[in-house]
């Protein structure tokens, strides 16, 4: 990360630390994307298995994917988000991570 303040010793370090902490605090979203192939029932079942969603909650996300093209299904720490994407991809869902804004 590039320092924002002029190099005045401690000020630079403080700003860098603040920005780093802010970056760490911003959650990462796990996003499931629509594709024309995966069956709706299958997507629902995968979301239930990977996230422990109820059938109703999984169906809400599945329909959001189908109707809006994507759904944020989980938010949190990057490492955990990557783990969830790996699980979703192991079931062949089109899933990505992106930092929330």
């Amino acid at each position: 990360m590039k320092p924002v303040l002029a190099a005045t010793g401690g000020d630079v370090l403080t700003e860098e630390e603040t920005q780093t902490q802010e970056a760490l605090d911003i959650p990462w979203n796990v996003i499931v994307h629509n594709d024309p192939i995966n069956l709706m029932d299958y997507v629902t079942k995968v979301l239930m298995k990977v996230f422990g969603f109820s059938q109703k909650k999984a169906e809400v996300h599945m329909l959001e994917v189908h109707q809006k093209g994507r759904s944020i299904v989980w938010s949190g720490a990057r490492e955990r988000a990557e783990f969830h994407v790996q699980q979703l991809q192991s079931h062949l869902l089109l899933a990505t991570i992106a930092q929330a804004r």
Binding site: D35, I37, L39, Y42, V46, Q86, S90, L92, A95
Partner: protein, 157 residues
């Protein structure tokens, strides 16, 4: 064709030659050997937004996924290799323990076919009709989807 479902699994009895051929091509259809299929089956976790993260994923995560997918496909190929011939029809037995591998391989084949033939939502919901290779691919996608829907009811993912 008659389908029997029990706790032990599924038995597809009296399969006609056309259905047998569709099943026999399943492992080959699922293979991510071309760019289009590979890109869909092993999609990038940031969708290209973070090249370094996508590159790390390819190096560290993709081999594990590839191995898992191959395990599924190998199980399906093994079940297909022992189909029993009765008169002029064949019987396929899918043990219950192989249900997940079958669902995965059927789905992988559908996704790979969809990527290879640039299949869209209009194609899969019947709003657009095709002949030739794409039309055949859409028929395969529909057939494999029908099997997934049937297996899904009795399988823990």
């Amino acid at each position: 064709m008659e389908i029997q479902i029990s706790d032990e699994g599924w038995v597809f009895d009296g399969m006609e030659q056309a259905i047998v051929e569709l099943l026999r091509t399943l492992p080959a259809c699922a293979a991510p050997d071309d760019d289009a299929a590979r890109k869909r089956i092993f999609s990038a976790p940031t969708g290209g937004a973070d090249a370094d993260a996508d590159s790390d994923w390819r190096e560290y995560v993709e081999p594990g996924l590839r191995e898992l997918f191959k395990t599924h496909t190998d199980l399906v190929a093994a079940d297909l290799s022992v189909m029993e011939e009765k008169e002029k029809s064949l019987t396929l037995r899918i043990p219950a323990a192989h249900g997940r591998a079958w669902i995965h391989t059927l789905n992988q084949a559908r996704l790979a076919l969809g990527a290879r033939h640039d299949v869209t939502e209009d194609d899969t919901n019947g709003r657009r009709h095709h002949r030739g290779a794409k039309g055949f691919a859409i028929m395969q996608i529909d057939f494999y989807g029908m099997l997934i829907a049937m297996l899904l009811g009795n399988t823990e993912l």
